[in-house]
Protein backbone atom coordinates (compact mmCIF):
# COMPACT_ATOMS: atom_id res chain seq x y z
CA UNK A 1 0.00 0.00 0.00
CA UNK A 2 1.93 3.01 -1.19
CA UNK A 3 -0.81 5.16 -2.63
CA UNK A 4 0.26 8.28 -0.72
CA UNK A 5 -1.34 11.70 -0.78
CA UNK A 6 1.57 12.80 -2.96
CA UNK A 7 0.75 10.09 -5.50
CA UNK A 8 -2.95 10.90 -5.36
CA UNK A 9 -2.12 14.57 -5.88
CA UNK A 10 -0.16 13.81 -9.05
CA UNK A 11 -3.16 12.10 -10.63
CA UNK A 12 -5.65 14.67 -9.39
CA UNK A 13 -3.59 17.38 -11.02
CA UNK A 14 -3.51 15.52 -14.35
CA UNK A 15 -7.27 14.90 -14.23
CA UNK A 16 -7.89 18.51 -13.27
CA UNK A 17 -5.85 19.55 -16.29
CA UNK A 18 -8.08 17.47 -18.56
CA UNK A 19 -11.16 19.15 -17.07
CA UNK A 20 -9.67 22.59 -17.50
CA UNK A 21 -8.76 21.85 -21.10
CA UNK A 22 -12.35 20.76 -21.75
CA UNK A 23 -11.31 17.25 -22.84
CA UNK A 24 -12.49 15.32 -19.77
CA UNK A 25 -14.77 12.53 -20.97
CA UNK A 26 -18.04 11.89 -19.19
CA UNK A 27 -20.25 8.90 -19.70
CA UNK A 28 -24.00 9.22 -20.17
CA UNK A 29 -25.89 6.31 -18.64
CA UNK A 30 -28.38 4.59 -20.95
CA UNK A 31 -31.10 2.64 -19.14
CA UNK A 32 -32.62 0.97 -22.19
CA UNK A 33 -31.34 -1.43 -24.83
CA UNK A 34 -29.32 0.13 -27.67
CA UNK A 35 -31.77 1.35 -30.33
CA UNK A 36 -33.04 4.40 -32.24
CA UNK A 37 -35.01 5.45 -29.13
CA UNK A 38 -33.09 5.29 -25.87
CA UNK A 39 -33.59 6.43 -22.28
CA UNK A 40 -30.68 8.40 -20.90
CA UNK A 41 -29.64 9.57 -17.44
CA UNK A 42 -27.59 12.72 -17.92
CA UNK A 43 -26.21 14.35 -15.94
CA UNK A 44 -25.76 11.52 -13.46
CA UNK A 45 -28.63 11.44 -10.99
CA UNK A 46 -31.12 13.28 -13.23
CA UNK A 47 -34.40 11.74 -14.30
CA UNK A 48 -34.49 9.63 -17.46
CA UNK A 49 -34.94 11.37 -20.79
CA UNK A 50 -36.17 9.66 -23.94
CA UNK A 51 -34.06 10.73 -26.91
CA UNK A 52 -33.38 9.73 -30.51
CA UNK A 53 -29.91 8.25 -30.77
CA UNK A 54 -27.94 9.43 -33.80
CA UNK A 55 -24.42 8.77 -32.55
CA UNK A 56 -24.28 4.97 -32.26
CA UNK A 57 -22.33 2.63 -34.53
CA UNK A 58 -25.53 0.57 -34.68
CA UNK A 59 -25.59 1.04 -38.47
CA UNK A 60 -27.84 -1.92 -39.24
CA UNK A 61 -30.05 -1.65 -36.18
CA UNK A 62 -29.09 -5.17 -35.11
CA UNK A 63 -27.82 -4.44 -31.58
CA UNK A 64 -31.15 -5.42 -30.04
CA UNK A 65 -32.72 -7.33 -32.92
CA UNK A 66 -35.02 -10.04 -31.47
CA UNK A 67 -33.52 -12.83 -33.62
CA UNK A 68 -29.99 -11.86 -32.56
CA UNK A 69 -30.97 -11.68 -28.89
CA UNK A 70 -32.68 -15.06 -29.18
CA UNK A 71 -29.62 -16.59 -30.86
CA UNK A 72 -27.38 -15.25 -28.10
CA UNK A 73 -29.70 -16.80 -25.49
CA UNK A 74 -29.55 -20.13 -27.31
CA UNK A 75 -25.75 -19.89 -27.55
CA UNK A 76 -25.54 -19.21 -23.83
CA UNK A 77 -27.66 -22.29 -23.11
CA UNK A 78 -25.83 -24.62 -25.49
CA UNK A 79 -22.20 -23.42 -25.20
CA UNK A 80 -22.03 -21.69 -21.82
CA UNK A 81 -21.00 -18.26 -20.64
CA UNK A 82 -17.20 -18.23 -20.94
CA UNK A 83 -14.25 -20.31 -22.03
CA UNK A 84 -11.77 -19.78 -19.18
CA UNK A 85 -8.97 -20.41 -21.64
CA UNK A 86 -7.18 -18.90 -24.58
CA UNK A 87 -7.91 -20.40 -28.00
CA UNK A 88 -4.94 -22.76 -28.36
CA UNK A 89 -5.28 -24.42 -24.94
CA UNK A 90 -8.97 -25.27 -24.55
CA UNK A 91 -10.75 -22.09 -25.63
CA UNK A 92 -11.94 -23.00 -29.13
CA UNK A 93 -15.48 -24.25 -29.69
CA UNK A 94 -17.17 -25.47 -32.83
CA UNK A 95 -19.06 -22.16 -33.05
CA UNK A 96 -15.80 -20.18 -33.12
CA UNK A 97 -14.69 -22.17 -36.15
CA UNK A 98 -18.14 -21.82 -37.71
CA UNK A 99 -18.05 -18.03 -37.29
CA UNK A 100 -14.54 -17.84 -38.79
CA UNK A 101 -15.72 -19.79 -41.78
CA UNK A 102 -18.83 -17.61 -42.21
CA UNK A 103 -16.79 -14.38 -42.04
CA UNK A 104 -14.39 -15.75 -44.66
CA UNK A 105 -17.29 -16.43 -46.99
CA UNK A 106 -19.00 -13.11 -46.24
CA UNK A 107 -15.88 -11.04 -46.92
CA UNK A 108 -14.70 -13.17 -49.86
CA UNK A 109 -11.29 -13.93 -48.36
CA UNK A 110 -9.24 -17.11 -47.86
CA UNK A 111 -9.34 -17.48 -44.06
CA UNK A 112 -10.27 -15.67 -40.84
CA UNK A 113 -9.12 -15.57 -37.22
CA UNK A 114 -11.22 -14.10 -34.40
CA UNK A 115 -9.84 -11.60 -31.88
CA UNK A 116 -11.38 -10.30 -28.64
CA UNK A 117 -11.83 -6.94 -30.42
CA UNK A 118 -10.75 -5.21 -33.61
CA UNK A 119 -8.52 -3.06 -31.42
CA UNK A 120 -6.74 -6.32 -30.56
CA UNK A 121 -6.75 -7.48 -34.19
CA UNK A 122 -5.05 -4.24 -35.25
CA UNK A 123 -2.76 -4.39 -32.23
CA UNK A 124 -1.54 -7.87 -33.08
CA UNK A 125 -1.59 -8.30 -36.83
CA UNK A 126 1.40 -6.19 -37.93
CA UNK A 127 3.98 -7.66 -35.57
CA UNK A 128 2.71 -11.13 -36.49
CA UNK A 129 3.28 -10.78 -40.24
CA UNK A 130 6.07 -8.19 -40.67
CA UNK A 131 9.68 -7.86 -39.53
CA UNK A 132 12.34 -5.16 -39.40
CA UNK A 133 13.14 -5.85 -43.04
CA UNK A 134 9.69 -4.64 -44.10
CA UNK A 135 7.85 -1.33 -44.33
CA UNK A 136 4.31 -0.24 -43.42
CA UNK A 137 2.93 2.70 -45.38
CA UNK A 138 -0.24 4.06 -43.79
CA UNK A 139 -2.79 6.75 -44.61
CA UNK A 140 -2.27 9.68 -42.22
CA UNK A 141 -5.84 9.42 -40.87
CA UNK A 142 -5.99 5.73 -39.93
CA UNK A 143 -7.68 4.72 -36.69
CA UNK A 144 -5.81 4.94 -33.37
CA UNK A 145 -5.79 1.15 -32.99
CA UNK A 146 -3.79 0.81 -36.22
CA UNK A 147 -1.30 3.38 -34.97
CA UNK A 148 -0.90 1.36 -31.77
CA UNK A 149 -0.39 -1.84 -33.78
CA UNK A 150 2.20 -0.12 -35.95
CA UNK A 151 4.06 1.05 -32.85
CA UNK A 152 4.27 -2.54 -31.63
CA UNK A 153 5.81 -3.74 -34.89
CA UNK A 154 9.52 -3.67 -35.72
CA UNK A 155 8.98 -2.89 -39.42
CA UNK A 156 9.79 0.59 -40.71
CA UNK A 157 6.80 2.92 -40.80
CA UNK A 158 5.97 5.72 -43.20
CA UNK A 159 2.79 7.61 -44.04
CA UNK A 160 1.06 9.09 -47.07
CA UNK A 161 -1.24 12.10 -47.19
CA UNK A 162 -4.88 11.20 -46.66
CA UNK A 163 -6.24 9.43 -49.77
CA UNK A 164 -3.47 10.97 -51.92
CA UNK A 165 -2.62 8.24 -54.45
CA UNK A 166 0.27 10.13 -56.05
CA UNK A 167 1.88 10.49 -52.65
CA UNK A 168 1.30 6.80 -51.93
CA UNK A 169 3.01 5.88 -55.20
CA UNK A 170 6.00 8.05 -54.29
CA UNK A 171 6.26 6.19 -51.00
CA UNK A 172 6.03 2.81 -52.69
CA UNK A 173 8.90 3.86 -54.96
CA UNK A 174 10.92 5.23 -52.03
CA UNK A 175 10.64 1.94 -50.13
CA UNK A 176 10.88 -0.40 -53.09
CA UNK A 177 14.04 -2.02 -51.69
CA UNK A 178 12.23 -3.45 -48.67
CA UNK A 179 11.54 -7.20 -48.38
CA UNK A 180 7.79 -6.65 -47.94
CA UNK A 181 5.71 -3.50 -48.25
CA UNK A 182 2.25 -3.16 -46.71
CA UNK A 183 -0.17 -0.35 -47.56
CA UNK A 184 -2.52 0.34 -44.66
CA UNK A 185 -5.83 2.19 -44.66
CA UNK A 186 -9.27 2.39 -43.08
CA UNK A 187 -12.13 1.46 -45.44
CA UNK A 188 -14.45 4.19 -44.19
CA UNK A 189 -12.77 6.90 -42.12
CA UNK A 190 -14.70 7.24 -38.88
CA UNK A 191 -14.49 10.99 -38.33
CA UNK A 192 -15.08 12.22 -41.90
CA UNK A 193 -17.16 9.35 -43.29
CA UNK A 194 -15.20 9.24 -46.56
CA UNK A 195 -14.17 6.03 -48.28
CA UNK A 196 -10.68 4.77 -49.15
CA UNK A 197 -9.81 4.50 -52.85
CA UNK A 198 -9.25 0.77 -52.60
CA UNK A 199 -9.46 0.28 -56.38
CA UNK A 200 -6.52 2.65 -56.96
CA UNK A 201 -4.68 1.27 -53.98
CA UNK A 202 -5.06 -2.31 -55.22
CA UNK A 203 -3.65 -1.25 -58.60
CA UNK A 204 -0.65 0.42 -56.97
CA UNK A 205 -0.06 -2.53 -54.67
CA UNK A 206 -0.07 -4.89 -57.63
CA UNK A 207 2.28 -2.60 -59.58
CA UNK A 208 4.78 -2.34 -56.71
CA UNK A 209 4.30 -5.82 -55.23
CA UNK A 210 2.88 -4.57 -51.93
CA UNK A 211 0.34 -6.07 -49.53
CA UNK A 212 -2.95 -4.21 -49.06
CA UNK A 213 -4.49 -3.91 -45.59
CA UNK A 214 -7.89 -2.36 -44.80
CA UNK A 215 -9.71 -1.88 -41.48
CA UNK A 216 -13.36 -2.07 -42.51
CA UNK A 217 -14.93 -1.61 -39.08
CA UNK A 218 -17.16 1.26 -40.25
CA UNK A 219 -18.17 -0.59 -43.43
CA UNK A 220 -18.69 -4.32 -42.85
CA UNK A 221 -22.31 -5.30 -43.29
CA UNK A 222 -23.55 -2.27 -45.20
CA UNK A 223 -21.03 -0.67 -47.59
CA UNK A 224 -21.14 -2.15 -51.10
CA UNK A 225 -24.08 -3.53 -53.02
CA UNK A 226 -24.50 -6.54 -50.73
CA UNK A 227 -22.85 -5.04 -47.65
CA UNK A 228 -19.55 -6.90 -47.86
CA UNK A 229 -17.59 -3.73 -47.28
CA UNK A 230 -15.42 -1.11 -48.93
CA UNK A 231 -13.70 -3.71 -51.10
CA UNK A 232 -17.07 -4.62 -52.61
CA UNK A 233 -17.93 -0.94 -53.22
CA UNK A 234 -14.56 -0.43 -54.95
CA UNK A 235 -14.78 -3.64 -56.99
CA UNK A 236 -11.70 -5.29 -55.48
CA UNK A 237 -13.18 -8.32 -53.71
CA UNK A 238 -10.61 -11.10 -53.79
CA UNK A 239 -7.74 -8.63 -54.21
CA UNK A 240 -7.43 -7.64 -50.53
CA UNK A 241 -4.60 -9.23 -48.57
CA UNK A 242 -5.83 -8.36 -45.07
CA UNK A 243 -9.18 -7.02 -43.84
CA UNK A 244 -9.72 -6.37 -40.17
CA UNK A 245 -13.17 -5.64 -38.86
CA UNK A 246 -15.29 -5.52 -35.73
CA UNK A 247 -18.49 -7.17 -34.53
CA UNK A 248 -18.96 -4.17 -32.25
CA UNK A 249 -20.56 -1.87 -34.81
CA UNK A 250 -22.81 -2.82 -37.74
CA UNK A 251 -22.41 -6.58 -37.21
CA UNK A 252 -24.48 -6.77 -34.03
CA UNK A 253 -22.64 -4.21 -31.94
CA UNK A 254 -21.58 -6.48 -29.06
CA UNK A 255 -17.83 -7.08 -29.19
CA UNK A 256 -15.10 -8.98 -30.97
CA UNK A 257 -13.15 -8.54 -34.16
CA UNK A 258 -11.13 -10.47 -36.68
CA UNK A 259 -8.30 -10.61 -39.19
CA UNK A 260 -9.48 -12.00 -42.51
CA UNK A 261 -7.36 -12.45 -45.61
CA UNK A 262 -4.63 -14.55 -47.19
CA UNK A 263 -4.37 -18.03 -45.67
CA UNK A 264 -0.71 -17.75 -44.67
CA UNK A 265 -1.12 -14.32 -43.10
CA UNK A 266 -4.04 -15.54 -40.99
CA UNK A 267 -1.99 -18.57 -39.97
CA UNK A 268 0.87 -16.25 -38.95
CA UNK A 269 -1.60 -14.47 -36.65
CA UNK A 270 -2.68 -17.82 -35.20
CA UNK A 271 0.95 -18.63 -34.43
CA UNK A 272 2.25 -15.22 -33.36
CA UNK A 273 -0.37 -12.53 -32.66
CA UNK A 274 -0.13 -11.75 -28.98
CA UNK A 275 -3.75 -10.63 -28.30
CA UNK A 276 -4.86 -13.97 -29.81
CA UNK A 277 -2.31 -16.01 -27.89
CA UNK A 278 -2.69 -14.34 -24.50
CA UNK A 279 -6.35 -13.42 -24.22
CA UNK A 280 -9.65 -15.30 -24.29
CA UNK A 281 -11.53 -15.01 -27.54
CA UNK A 282 -15.14 -13.88 -28.02
CA UNK A 283 -17.60 -15.34 -25.48
CA UNK A 284 -20.01 -18.05 -26.74
CA UNK A 285 -23.28 -16.03 -26.54
CA UNK A 286 -21.71 -13.24 -28.60
CA UNK A 287 -20.37 -15.72 -31.15
CA UNK A 288 -23.87 -17.17 -31.50
CA UNK A 289 -25.27 -13.65 -31.93
CA UNK A 290 -22.79 -12.72 -34.66
CA UNK A 291 -23.54 -15.97 -36.52
CA UNK A 292 -27.21 -14.95 -36.56
CA UNK A 293 -26.26 -11.45 -37.78
CA UNK A 294 -24.36 -12.92 -40.73
CA UNK A 295 -27.26 -15.24 -41.52
CA UNK A 296 -29.65 -12.26 -41.56
CA UNK A 297 -27.33 -10.19 -43.78
CA UNK A 298 -26.59 -13.06 -46.16
CA UNK A 299 -30.30 -13.77 -46.66
CA UNK A 300 -31.34 -10.22 -47.57
CA UNK A 301 -29.97 -6.74 -48.27
CA UNK A 302 -33.10 -5.08 -46.86
CA UNK A 303 -31.34 -3.58 -43.86
CA UNK A 304 -28.37 -2.10 -45.76
CA UNK A 305 -30.80 -0.83 -48.43
CA UNK A 306 -32.89 0.91 -45.75
CA UNK A 307 -29.72 2.38 -44.27
CA UNK A 308 -28.71 3.71 -47.68
CA UNK A 309 -32.12 5.35 -48.17
CA UNK A 310 -32.08 6.79 -44.63
CA UNK A 311 -28.63 8.24 -45.27
CA UNK A 312 -29.76 9.92 -48.50
CA UNK A 313 -32.82 11.36 -46.70
CA UNK A 314 -30.70 12.62 -43.77
CA UNK A 315 -28.00 14.21 -45.92
CA UNK A 316 -30.58 15.97 -48.10
CA UNK A 317 -32.53 17.19 -45.05
CA UNK A 318 -29.48 18.70 -43.38
CA UNK A 319 -28.21 20.21 -46.65
CA UNK A 320 -31.61 21.74 -47.43
CA UNK A 321 -31.73 23.16 -43.90
CA UNK A 322 -28.47 25.00 -44.63
CA UNK A 323 -25.89 23.02 -42.64
CA UNK A 324 -22.39 22.41 -43.94
CA UNK A 325 -21.65 18.68 -44.24
CA UNK A 326 -18.53 16.72 -45.07
CA UNK A 327 -18.92 15.22 -48.54
CA UNK A 328 -19.58 11.50 -48.72
CA UNK A 329 -22.22 8.83 -49.07
CA UNK A 330 -21.73 6.73 -45.94
CA UNK A 331 -23.97 6.74 -42.84
CA UNK A 332 -21.34 8.83 -41.04
CA UNK A 333 -22.54 12.40 -41.66
CA UNK A 334 -20.43 15.10 -39.98
CA UNK A 335 -22.18 18.45 -39.48
CA UNK A 336 -19.39 21.01 -39.56
CA UNK A 337 -19.38 23.76 -36.91
CA UNK A 338 -15.60 24.50 -36.85
CA UNK A 339 -15.60 26.03 -33.35
CA UNK A 340 -15.13 23.66 -30.36
CA UNK A 341 -17.46 25.51 -27.96
CA UNK A 342 -20.14 25.85 -30.61
CA UNK A 343 -20.02 22.07 -31.15
CA UNK A 344 -20.58 21.50 -27.41
CA UNK A 345 -23.37 24.09 -27.22
CA UNK A 346 -25.19 22.65 -30.22
CA UNK A 347 -24.83 19.11 -28.83
CA UNK A 348 -26.27 20.22 -25.47
CA UNK A 349 -29.21 22.02 -27.10
CA UNK A 350 -29.95 19.07 -29.38
CA UNK A 351 -30.12 16.89 -26.30
CA UNK A 352 -32.64 19.29 -24.77
CA UNK A 353 -34.65 18.89 -27.97
CA UNK A 354 -34.56 15.09 -27.64
CA UNK A 355 -31.68 14.26 -29.98
CA UNK A 356 -28.53 12.55 -28.72
CA UNK A 357 -25.54 13.61 -30.86
CA UNK A 358 -22.01 14.30 -29.76
CA UNK A 359 -19.73 17.23 -30.64
CA UNK A 360 -16.14 16.38 -31.55
CA UNK A 361 -13.28 18.85 -31.44
CA UNK A 362 -9.47 19.00 -31.25
CA UNK A 363 -7.57 16.75 -30.59
CA UNK A 364 -10.11 14.12 -31.75
CA UNK A 365 -10.43 16.05 -35.04
CA UNK A 366 -7.99 18.66 -36.43
CA UNK A 367 -7.95 22.15 -34.95
CA UNK A 368 -10.75 24.31 -36.36
CA UNK A 369 -12.77 21.36 -37.64
CA UNK A 370 -15.15 20.84 -34.72
CA UNK A 371 -18.34 19.09 -35.67
CA UNK A 372 -21.38 17.08 -34.64
CA UNK A 373 -20.84 13.58 -35.99
CA UNK A 374 -24.18 12.02 -36.84
CA UNK A 375 -24.50 8.33 -37.61
CA UNK A 376 -27.54 6.96 -39.33
CA UNK A 377 -29.00 3.51 -38.71
CA UNK A 378 -31.36 1.08 -40.40
CA UNK A 379 -33.04 1.11 -36.98
CA UNK A 380 -34.17 4.67 -37.67
CA UNK A 381 -37.54 5.17 -39.31
CA UNK A 382 -38.20 8.30 -41.34
CA UNK A 383 -40.20 9.68 -38.43
CA UNK A 384 -37.07 9.55 -36.23
CA UNK A 385 -35.08 11.41 -38.86
CA UNK A 386 -37.80 14.01 -39.39
CA UNK A 387 -37.94 14.70 -35.65
CA UNK A 388 -34.16 14.93 -35.50
CA UNK A 389 -34.12 17.29 -38.49
CA UNK A 390 -36.67 19.53 -36.74
CA UNK A 391 -34.35 19.69 -33.73
CA UNK A 392 -31.32 20.46 -35.90
CA UNK A 393 -33.20 23.22 -37.73
CA UNK A 394 -34.37 24.75 -34.43
CA UNK A 395 -30.89 24.71 -32.87
CA UNK A 396 -29.23 25.84 -36.11
CA UNK A 397 -31.61 28.80 -36.26
CA UNK A 398 -30.87 29.71 -32.64
CA UNK A 399 -27.14 29.94 -33.39
CA UNK A 400 -27.77 31.60 -36.77
CA UNK A 401 -25.61 29.16 -38.70
CA UNK A 402 -28.14 27.96 -41.27
CA UNK A 403 -27.14 28.87 -44.81
CA UNK A 404 -23.89 30.41 -43.58
CA UNK A 405 -20.51 29.70 -45.15
CA UNK A 406 -17.57 28.26 -43.25
CA UNK A 407 -15.98 31.69 -43.26
CA UNK A 408 -19.10 33.33 -41.84
CA UNK A 409 -19.36 30.77 -39.03
CA UNK A 410 -15.68 31.16 -38.17
CA UNK A 411 -15.95 34.98 -38.23
CA UNK A 412 -18.80 34.82 -35.77
CA UNK A 413 -17.62 32.05 -33.43
CA UNK A 414 -13.88 31.81 -34.10
CA UNK A 415 -11.83 28.69 -34.85
Amino acid sequence: MAYTEKTRGIYKEILGGLQQAGIFKQERFIHSAQAADIEVEFPAGSSLKKVINICANNYLGLSSHPEVVQAAHAGLDSHGYGMSSVRFICGTQDIHKKLESMVTEFLGTEDTILFPSCMDANGGVFEAVLTKDDVMISDRLVHASIIDGIRLCSAMHDTFKHSDMEHLEEKLQLHNDKRLKMVITDGVFSMDGDTAKLDKMAELCEKYDALLFCDDSHASGFIGKTGRGTHEKCGVMGRMDIITTTFGKGLGGASGGCVSGRRELVEMCRQKARPYLFSNTIAPPVVAGVIKVLEILSASTDRRDKLENNTIFWRKGLTDAGFILKDGDTPIVPVMLFNAKLSQDVSRDLYEEGVYAIGFFFPVVPQGQARIRTQISAGHDIIHLEKALDAFRKVGKKYEILGKTKQEIIERYGM
Binding site: H157, D158, T159, K171, L174
Partner: protein, 80 residues
Protein backbone atom coordinates in the same frame (compact mmCIF):
# COMPACT_ATOMS: atom_id res chain seq x y z
CA UNK B 1 24.86 24.34 -49.31
CA UNK B 2 22.17 26.87 -50.29
CA UNK B 3 20.91 24.56 -53.01
CA UNK B 4 20.75 21.70 -50.53
CA UNK B 5 18.79 23.85 -48.07
CA UNK B 6 16.30 24.73 -50.75
CA UNK B 7 15.89 21.09 -51.83
CA UNK B 8 15.28 19.95 -48.26
CA UNK B 9 12.95 22.84 -47.46
CA UNK B 10 10.88 22.13 -50.56
CA UNK B 11 10.72 18.45 -49.69
CA UNK B 12 9.53 19.23 -46.15
CA UNK B 13 6.83 21.58 -47.45
CA UNK B 14 5.63 19.15 -50.10
CA UNK B 15 5.74 16.17 -47.79
CA UNK B 16 4.44 17.46 -44.48
CA UNK B 17 2.74 20.84 -44.80
CA UNK B 18 -0.96 20.62 -45.68
CA UNK B 19 -1.93 24.25 -45.00
CA UNK B 20 -0.24 27.65 -45.48
CA UNK B 21 2.31 27.22 -42.66
CA UNK B 22 5.50 29.12 -43.51
CA UNK B 23 8.70 27.08 -43.36
CA UNK B 24 12.10 28.79 -43.18
CA UNK B 25 15.55 27.26 -42.78
CA UNK B 26 15.24 27.69 -38.99
CA UNK B 27 11.61 26.66 -38.47
CA UNK B 28 11.45 23.98 -35.74
CA UNK B 29 10.20 20.92 -37.61
CA UNK B 30 9.96 18.20 -34.95
CA UNK B 31 9.52 20.34 -31.83
CA UNK B 32 7.20 22.59 -33.82
CA UNK B 33 4.92 19.69 -34.69
CA UNK B 34 5.38 19.91 -38.48
CA UNK B 35 7.16 16.55 -38.78
CA UNK B 36 6.07 13.78 -36.37
CA UNK B 37 8.39 11.04 -35.21
CA UNK B 38 6.80 8.50 -37.61
CA UNK B 39 7.43 10.77 -40.55
CA UNK B 40 11.12 11.25 -39.77
CA UNK B 41 11.62 7.86 -41.43
CA UNK B 42 10.71 9.11 -44.86
CA UNK B 43 12.80 12.26 -44.42
CA UNK B 44 15.84 10.16 -43.51
CA UNK B 45 15.26 7.85 -46.47
CA UNK B 46 14.83 10.82 -48.81
CA UNK B 47 18.14 12.31 -47.66
CA UNK B 48 19.96 9.00 -47.98
CA UNK B 49 18.64 8.39 -51.49
CA UNK B 50 19.10 11.95 -52.68
CA UNK B 51 22.68 12.38 -51.41
CA UNK B 52 23.78 8.74 -51.58
CA UNK B 53 24.68 8.60 -47.90
CA UNK B 54 23.89 6.38 -44.92
CA UNK B 55 22.87 8.20 -41.75
CA UNK B 56 23.27 5.93 -38.69
CA UNK B 57 20.02 5.52 -36.73
CA UNK B 58 21.60 6.89 -33.58
CA UNK B 59 22.47 10.12 -35.42
CA UNK B 60 18.98 10.57 -36.86
CA UNK B 61 17.63 12.14 -33.69
CA UNK B 62 14.71 14.57 -33.33
CA UNK B 63 17.24 17.25 -32.40
CA UNK B 64 19.36 16.67 -35.51
CA UNK B 65 16.24 16.83 -37.71
CA UNK B 66 14.67 19.84 -36.07
CA UNK B 67 15.31 22.42 -38.80
CA UNK B 68 16.46 22.61 -42.40
CA UNK B 69 19.76 24.16 -41.25
CA UNK B 70 20.42 21.34 -38.77
CA UNK B 71 19.55 18.69 -41.35
CA UNK B 72 22.03 20.23 -43.80
CA UNK B 73 24.78 20.09 -41.19
CA UNK B 74 24.00 16.43 -40.55
CA UNK B 75 23.91 15.52 -44.24
CA UNK B 76 27.21 17.26 -44.89
CA UNK B 77 28.90 15.14 -42.23
CA UNK B 78 28.19 12.04 -44.31
CA UNK B 79 28.77 13.30 -47.83
CA UNK B 80 32.16 12.05 -48.97
Amino acid sequence: MDEMKEVIKNYVIREYVEDDTDVTYDTPLISGGIVDSFSMVSLKRFLENKYQIAIPDDKATPEAFDSVNKICLLVNEYIK
